[in-house]
Every structure is written in C-alpha cells, then in structure tokens.
Amino acid sequence: MTTCVDIINTLSPCLVRAGWNADVANLLSLLLGVVIVATVPLLTVILLIWIERKFAARIQDRIGPNRVGPYGLLQSLADALKMLTKEDITPSGADRILFNLAPIITFATVVLIWAIIPFTPLHIGADLSIGILYFVAVGSIGAVKVMIGGWSSNNKYALLGAFRTIALIVSYEVPMILALLVPVLMAGSMGMQDLTRAQGGMWFIVMSPLAAIIFFVANLAETGRSPFDLLEAESELIAGYNIEYSGFKFGMFMAGEFMHVFTVAVLTAVLFLGGWWGPFVDQLPALGFIWLGLKTAVVYLFMLLIRNTVPRFRIDQVMNINWKFMVPLSIVLILVQSFLLRLIDALGLRPAPEMANDLLANLPQTLVLLAGNLVLGAIFMHLLQRHGRTLREADEALAVVKGEAAPSGGLAEA
C-alpha cells in the first residue's frame, strides 16, 4: 500500500484510491511530472543569466547589472519584458514557417534532455533503460535545428554560420559519445539512475578523469561557448546562424544556449561527480537534490570561468583538436579502460556487490584505473607537446628564410 506522502511519485495510485479513473489519474500524474521537470530548468535559466552576467562583469573588472531589483537580480525579467515589446523582423525571402520553428526547436530540445536527469534517488522524469542514448539522440537533433535556422533566414552569412556550426557540432559528437562509453562500461548500464548508483563508492571522475575531461570539453564545443564560439565570430560571420533573428525569437536562441550550458553542467555532475550522492542521502533522499545542485554549480562556474578567460580558436584549429587529438585519445581510452576493467576482474580487485558503495573496497580498482588514465594522458600530452614544437620550429625556419622576425605561435599561417 503506497502512502500519499510523496505526492510527486505517488499521485496516480492516490487518485485511483480516491475513486478516479486509472487512465485519467495516470495522465494527470504524467502531466504534473512533465511540468515539474520542465519548470526546473526554466526557472533556473532566469537566475543563470544574472549569475553569468555578474560573473563575467567581475572577471572584466566591472560591476555588472545592479539597477533592477536588489543586486540587479531582476535584470533578466526586465530584459525579457523588453524583448517582448521589440519589433520582430522577418527578412524578405525567408522561409516563414521554418524561420519561426527554429527558435522553438532550439529551446524545446534542451528542455527535453531534462526528462532523464535523476534529481534524487527517487525522483527522475523517466528512468529509461537507454537513458544516456536518449540524451545523445535528443542532442543530435541540435544539428537539425541549426540547419533550419540558418537555411530559412535567406542570408549568406547565416547559412555559412549554420554550416560551420553543424560541422563543429557533428565533429565533437564523436569524442563525446566515445567518452560516454566509459561510464557505461563501468556501470554496466545505460540508465541514468544506474549510472548514478554505480558511483556510490567512488565518483567516475576519479576512476576515469580522461573521460570526464573529454566529455566536458566536447560538450563545451557543442554549446558553442568560448573557446569554441565560432558561430559568434563577429568579424567573419557577423553573428552566426541566428543573425536575422530579432525580438523574442532571438531571445529564445539565447535562453536556449544558457540552458544548454546549464544542462551540460548537470549532466557532467550526474555522470562523473556522483549525481545525487552525498552524506545522509540514504536517510533523506530529497537531500540528493541539494548535493546535485551544489555539484552542478561548481561545474557551471568552471564553465563560466573558461568562457570568460580563454580566447577563441580558429575553425581549422577546432577541427584539428577534435579529429587529431580528442578522437584518437577517446578511442585509445576505451581500449585501455576496458582492458583495465578486465584486468581488475581477473585480479579480483573489484569490490563484492554488497561492498560496492564502500570507499575502501573501491580503492584498489580506482587506483588501477586512475593510474592507467594518468599514464595515457601523459603520453598524449607529450605527443601534443612534441607536435607543437615541430610546428613552431617550422614556422621559425620559414621566418628566417623570409628574413622576418620570428612570429609567435601558429599565427604565421593565418
């Protein structure tokens, strides 16, 4: 007999007991769940824009928004109101339906990812058996939305920006998905709750820091934030695929981007930082929400730090980083990680199932995996360093031949 205390999870049986039709009760509880799950990111995004602007301001030695409300907290609301009243221009020759559809899809696809975020041990939108693939699948619609936006604007720059963005999104999806294989290997499941539960003894970021870094960087590229903000390369592409958008449609693109960044932070926290795991979460599951929030905040602030301090890559550099560094690294990582896991099994270092959540029992296998990751990372960094030195020396040699002063770094070819 279920009690009617935890309203979110037990609404349907409670209503049935109160004499409702089972199907109607089920649909109602589904609707309630959807609204709750979707509201979490919607409400946070208003706050996030304020945090982001304050953070950027502090880094750039400014004060940031401070006029509307206490500490400028209501600035985002004021901006939203302003955008509501802005004239919305649809360029002549644009494909009207698609032009209006693109911002909606942009925002909706990010909201959809939240269906599989495990907030606490008990609360998750939908604990799908293929949870992680759901995220990848919904994320892959991202390229389609960029294409719709860029193509329907009837603008050469928008189309050019869209194509560059798609090439970037599609390329970085490869190392991202490969990095996702590592948690799946370790947890033996694709379900988000299973992946979180498997981190009871040790977070995956310790057991495979390389996978965490690859996932993080690839997602940074997917969100189109600096240092991968090629679509915003003002000097070359004006503003990317959303150049022709104005008013609230443009606002939707911006809000979608903010939310995408936040979603990536949550996913990193769930997949590699133990999700809702934290002290006392066994006694009080609702506490998991707070632990997850704290971890997400750490990842999110780190992303803001990167955005505001790292300069933009060139498009050819972005592609080289992906195909010649991240993809080979993630392929080798999977081979090494799966080998080490087999080795751990053979040596009997894997903790017994009943000890899976014990830190000490997990220590031996963690050490083996961590050592493997560190060695692999060191080898790849050494190769990268050597390659960089070769490039630099070639540049300097070229400069000597031309009789110029040696240029710095790889700028010579530009």
Binding site: P91, S92, A126, L159, K324
Partner: protein, 120 residues
C-alpha cells in the same frame, strides 16, 4: 509495462515541450509593434546589398565531415550494447571489441593520411 509508462512520460514531454518556447513568442506577437517596410526586411549583410543567390554552393569538405561522423556514429552505436554487457563477459569479448575498434581506427588513420580531416 513499467518501462512503457516511463516512455509515456517522454511522449507527453515531447508533446508539451514545444509549448514553453512557443508561448512567449506568441505573446510577443500580441504586444510587439508590427511596422515592416522594405528597407527593414532587407537581408542583413553588414549594410552591403546582397548579391546573387543565397543558396551558394558549398565545398565538399562539409560532406566529408558528415560522412566520417556517420561512420563513427554507427560504430559507437554498436559499442554501446557491448559496453552494457561488458561486466559479465570474458577476455574473448574484450578481444572482439578490440578488433572492432582497431579496424575502425584504420579508417580514421586513412582519413588522416589522405588529409580528409583538414579544414581547407
């Protein structure tokens, strides 16, 4: 049927997710000024009048990236079930996975050597 209920959630989510962004856009449509004119509606290309067709011909490089991605996409999808079952498999399974990945790494090396991955 438990899992199908989970998917019902996803289905409802798919049906409703569009409403959240559509509402403010419709709201804006109600309150915003609408005074379009030919000059405003011009395609924005930094103030320069647009020349010729927008649908310009793109280079083959984009297509190659798309193809390479597609191949890797299919490869990775084969690997996911392998990864899920990995815990209860043996060294033979490791060898099979290793061979699978190794063969595809060949393709990557080929693309690399043929300079198909360069941004030109």
């Amino acid at each position: 049927m438990e899992t199908l209920n989970e998917w019902a959630f996803v289905g409802v989510f798919f049906a409703i997710a569009w409403v959240f962004p559509a509402l403010p856009i419709i709201g804006a449509w109600l309150v915003r000024p609408k005074k379009p004119n030919a000059l405003k509606k011009q395609t924005y290309e930094s103030g320069v009048e647009t020349v010729g067709d927008t649908w310009v011909q793109f280079r083959v490089q984009y297509y190659i990236y798309g193809l390479v991605f597609l191949i890797f996409d299919v490869e990775m999808i084969f690997l996911f079930p392998w990864a899920v079952a990995y815990e209860r498999l043996d060294w033979f399974a490791y060898g099979a996975g290793f061979l699978f990945i190794f063969l595809l790494t060949d393709a990557l090396i080929y693309a690399w050597r043929k300079r198909a991955l360069e941004w030109v």
